[in-house]
């Protein structure tokens, strides 16, 4: 199957073929929406910001020189818009103490988690990731789901490589900590 690269559609848009942008929207909309959702958390707001990210990308497409991937460039736009949005709204995050979880707890949580039904696992995991702070939730998604390198995450978020690695380490522990709490809730209900 002949799959055209982003650069083909970008050149088309630059040459005045606006319809070519539709292919870029179709290709990247899910990941853009996911990035925004990880940070903003409210579906309606996320939809609006994700749309704004595409419109901003369209308006600035002549500035895209192709030094990085188009996906990295547009993810950065979506990230910046989302961060500005939550700064305006002043959302507060619940601090999660990851020091409380022991290695044994991690093992038990894992064992209990994999025994759950797939739909249940999806639901619990989504809620758990949304309980993390915005940057941690986003980094987890980019690194594990989209398999984006630490270098690219650095480019998108402007966080240093060492900071990203620390956040990944902390987010893993925090997620287990949240899952452990959720597991206790499931079994006590």
């Amino acid at each position: 199957m002949n799959v055209k690269k982003d650069s083909f559609f970008i050149n088309e848009v630059k040459n005045g073929n606006i319809d070519a942008f539709k292919f870029l929207v179709e290709k990247h909309k899910d990941m853009i929406y996911t990035i925004v959702m990880r940070i903003v958390r409210i579906r309606e707001d996320a939809e609006e910001i994700a749309q704004d990210a595409f419109i901003k990308a369209f308006q600035s497409i002549d500035l895209f020189e192709g030094k990085s991937e188009f996906s990295t460039w547009i993810y950065k736009i979506a990230y910046n818009l989302s961060i500005s949005h939550i700064r305006k709204k002043k959302y507060k995050n619940i601090e999660i103490d990851d020091n409380l979880i022991s290695d044994n707890d991690i093992f038990e949580t894992y064992n209990d988690f994999i025994k759950l039904e797939e739909s249940e696992r999806n639901r619990i995991l989504k809620n758990a990731v949304n309980s993390l702070n915005e940057d941690d939730a986003l980094i987890i998604t980019l690194f594990y789901i989209k398999e984006i390198s630490v270098n690219e995450i650095e480019e998108i978020t402007n966080l240093s490589k060492s900071n990203i690695k620390i956040k990944l380490f902390r987010a893993r522990k925090q997620l287990f900590s949240i899952l452990k709490d959720k597991k206790e809730l499931i079994y006590t209900v």
Binding site: N15, G16, I18, F21, K22, V25, E26, K29, D30, M31, Y33, T34, M37, A46, E47, A50, Q51, F54, I55, K56, F58, Q59, S60, D62, L63, K76, I77, N80, D103, I106, F107, Y110, F113, I114, E118, R121, N122, L125, K126, V129, I140, T141, Y144, I145, K146, F169, R172, K173, L175, F176, L179
Partner: protein
């Protein structure tokens, strides 16, 4: 133990799915883009959108060429410094006048048209640059 945590984590995180926006997402984005584009085209002179370099090069070249030809008044004076230039100019001028066989005013009008097109192009170029700066991320 950290390695094991990573392994357990990788197993668990597989169940995290990418979010999907509403079905109308793409249509909504494209609607806004079409609206945006039609707004811009009111400001922009859309016939100058493509191959800007080629257009500006041609217009500048033609304008200079026509200015040199039609504003060189009087008979060429042969001096050691400019004799080749003047002779060449006279030759081109005479050839063109013979070729078109029309009055001098025609060339003046032609020059005004080219100059106007060039000025319009410059205006369009700067407007689009300002718009890009305003929209820059």
């Amino acid at each position: 133990m950290e390695d094991k945590t990573k392994i357990y984590f990788e197993e668990i995180i597989k169940d995290l799915k990418i979010e999907t926006p509403s079905k109308k997402f793409t249509d909504n984005v494209m609607k806004q883009i079409y609206a945006e584009f039609s707004d811009e085209s009111v400001l922009k002179l859309s016939f100058f959108n493509k191959n800007k370099f080629l257009i500006i090069f041609s217009v500048v070249f033609l304008s200079i060429f026509l200015i040199i030809i039609f504003f060189s008044s009087g008979q060429p004076v042969a001096t050691p410094d400019n004799s080749i230039y003047d002779l060449y100019l006279k030759l081109v001028f005479d050839k063109l006048k013979d070729f078109f066989n029309v009055k001098f005013e025609f060339f003046l009008i032609l020059r005004i048209i080219f100059s106007s097109v060039f000025i319009l192009y410059l205006a369009d170029f700067f407007i689009s640059k300002i718009q890009k700066l305003n929209h820059s991320v």
